[in-house]
């Protein structure tokens, strides 16, 4: 195990967690964090601290850190006032704690006095050999140990995305998407003021962490640009890194006396950094999350050659346009593939890319076409549009006054089963042939309301059902660009 992995272990895989500031008041951060650790079934021991030793959530508390047996806790969650934190940190070090998450505010974000306290806290942590996250952060999660140590709610399902955010609430948004889509996280942390650990430190760790397949970051500023670039380059040689950056409209060109300087906005330079380091740069929260979730769940494409398969005409047209603008190659339908599909459906189908069966499909056609397309050597990726349309009618049958008479029960069940089969087939052919197959349908928005089994079945395969063709195209183009970056650099050619 590398030194870095070992250093971060007490933060993300603690045997026990000390929570300070726990009380009977359910609005206090200490109580909320204690609750969330219990609520999501943290696997280690929890040591709640209350000065007076009063019960909280029906659990006994410790009056002081000194009462906790040595060697049982690795992490302390501090949400106490800044002035008492140094003593708590010292006491925790004595019982073997090696990591601290500091949620408390009143540090670097709070003027010169706060900055002084922050420097002192970091110096103390360094002296005690404690790895310190925050201060002024919302908390952290680690699904391997079922740990939700946060002063806010979202706790996503387990997965292979690991996240670090300079903004607590963007971190929550990232994780809320995980809750919604069920494509989950290994780790997530709101790094607050990044006093001891910078964003780059977390990313360097995620690059080495075997439980992380892709990193997802939100950042506003980068203190050490060179360090960040080096870490990002090393990271993308191992696994993808998705970054959303805020504050890009602030142009840092006050001292621009040259033409070059006048063009050198903060955003322009960062664009270059992302290109050079192979960072997947997202435009907004959903783009960032969907990129990360796609990296986490789909194989990397071998190239740009994309095939669209649609049961909805207009969607096929719009998604074709989106492919072209995104630089994906909408290949002409290969002849042999065309002939193979000719054998399956009546002649009115599109006989081109997008493949549109024009309603000519029978029971097994869609899974068969997906298999033929994914198996074809000229196809690198597939976007499949319109899942759930049959099931949506099934739902309308089921909820109407004629059901279950007139054969409506049989047809509704058939529609449900078919859409479920299509979702499974998309995931199966993707895995079998090692190619991305992205499923998109606006009916993802109705799945909760009406229980549409199409998008729900996509979720059951562990993948995202993209809410539009555009969003599937966008996610796929991130994969294509990253794959090209990797290929170029691993081929050894200059």
């Amino acid at each position: 195990m590398s030194d870095r992995v070992e250093r971060f272990r007490p933060l993300f895989y603690p045997r026990g967690v000390v929570v300070t500031g726990v009380s009977q008041h359910p609005g206090k951060f200490g109580t909320v964090t204690f609750h969330n650790l219990l609520r999501f079934g943290y696997e280690g021991e929890i040591f709640p601290i209350n000065r007076d030793g009063i019960e909280s959530l029906g659990h006994g508390t410790y009056r002081s850190v000194e009462e906790i047996p040595h060697g049982r806790a690795d992490l302390v969650f501090l949400c106490t006032p800044a002035k008492v934190n140094p003593d708590l940190l010292r006491a925790c070090a004595k019982i073997g704690v090696r990591a601290a998450f500091v949620a408390s505010a009143g540090y670097g974000e709070a003027g010169a006095e706060g900055a002084r306290l922050q420097n002192e806290l970091v110096a103390l942590a360094d002296e005690l050999g404690i790895v310190l996250a925050g201060p002024n952060g919302q908390g952290l999660i680690s699904t391997s140990v079922s740990m939700c140590a946060q002063i806010v709610a979202p706790y996503p399902p387990p997965g292979s995305i690991s996240m670090v955010s300079q903004s607590g609430n963007i971190g929550s948004s990232y994780m809320n998407y995980g809750v919604l889509t069920q494509v989950g996280y290994s780790k997530g942390i709101s790094c607050g003021n990044s006093a001891q650990l910078a964003i780059a430190d977390y990313l360097a760790y995620y690059a080495e962490d075997p439980d992380t397949a892709v990193s997802l970051a939100y950042l506003e500023g980068v203190e050490d640009g060179r360090g960040f670039l080096d870490v990002a380059r090393a990271h993308t040689r191992q696994k993808p890194l998705v970054v959303l950056r805020g504050g890009v409209t602030d142009s840092g060109k006050a001292a621009a006396s040259s033409h070059t300087g006048a063009m050198a906005s903060n955003d322009q330079i960062f664009r270059g950094v992302c290109r050079q380091a192979g960072i997947t740069r997202a435009e907004n929260v959903e783009d960032a999350y969907e990129a990360a979730a796609t990296f986490a769940t789909q194989p990397l494409p071998r190239g740009r050659r994309t095939l669209l398969f649609t049961v909805a005409g207009g969607w096929g047209v719009l998604t074709s346009d989106a492919c072209v603008s995104a630089g994906l190659e909408l290949i002409p339908l290969p002849d042999d593939l065309c002939k193979a599909i000719d054998k399956l459906v009546p002649a009115r189908w599109s006989r081109g890319n997008p493949i549109d069966l024009a309603g000519g499909e029978t029971r097994d056609t869609i899974p068969e076409v997906l298999e033929l397309a994914a198996a074809h050597p000229d196809v690198d990726s597939i976007i499949y549009l319109g899942i759930g349309i049959q099931a949506a009618q099934g739902q309308v049958f089921k909820s109407g006054g004629f059901y279950p008479e007139y054969g409506l029960d049989r047809i509704a069940d058939f529609h449900y089963r078919q859409d479920e089969r299509y979702a499974k087939a998309a995931a199966e052919v993707s895995q079998r042939h090692g190619k991305p197959v992205l499923v998109a349908s606006d009916l993802v928005y109705t799945d909760r309301q009406y229980g549409n089994p199409g998008p729900l079945a996509v979720r059951d395969t562990g993948r995202i059902c993209y809410p539009s063709g555009h969003r599937a195209v966008r996610a796929l183009s991130h994969l294509v660009r990253y794959a090209e970056y990797r290929d170029k650099r691993s081929s050894g050619a200059n």
Binding site: V222, D224, L229, G261, M263, Q268, G272
Partner: protein, 218 residues
Amino acid sequence: MTTTLSEFESKQLLREAGVPVPDDRLVDTADAAVKAAEAIGLPVALKLCGRHIAHKTERNLVRLGLASADRVRSQAEELLAARGPDEGDARLLVSPMVSGRREVIAGLVRDPQFGPCVMLGIGGIFAEALADVAFAVAPLEPHDADELMDSLQYRQLLGEFRGEPAVDRTALRNVLEGLAKLGVERPDIRSIDVNPLIIDRGRPVAVDALVELEETSA
């Protein structure tokens, strides 16, 4: 405090870094300008050149396409007379006319977070309106210079263009890598503007350049 090198000094520095520059001659008199022009071959360009000379175009201190000895002489006399009170050390720069319909701009800037960054952009009269520029942090690794070229929105202007050959990518790569090297090896350089870099039969030539140095307090 910063100080700027003269165009001639700037181009010397760039030449050493591998950036193609024209065969310029620096002279003091109209007679010497005529001799230099004849040695270079007419037509020539004539400019006033000195550390304090900025905004040459705006001040009409650039005279292009001078095709006869008489024209060179008369323009040289005009330029020398146009020197301002603190520009007494300015001299005359005689340059061959570089022709090409395409111009790009290149440069170096120091970013407070990322350090030296190389820029490449589409130049010419629409440069500011298009604002089609891209940056890369120095030093450049393999592929960085090529991806910098390919990341321009109007990169097709670097390909074959109206009967002119495609830009010599190796030469342009050398320009970008040369600028990056200066950024890394010369911390005293605050910025470099190479504007324009004219594409002459596919080959980029730095027709004007300005290097800004950080004045180190001794």
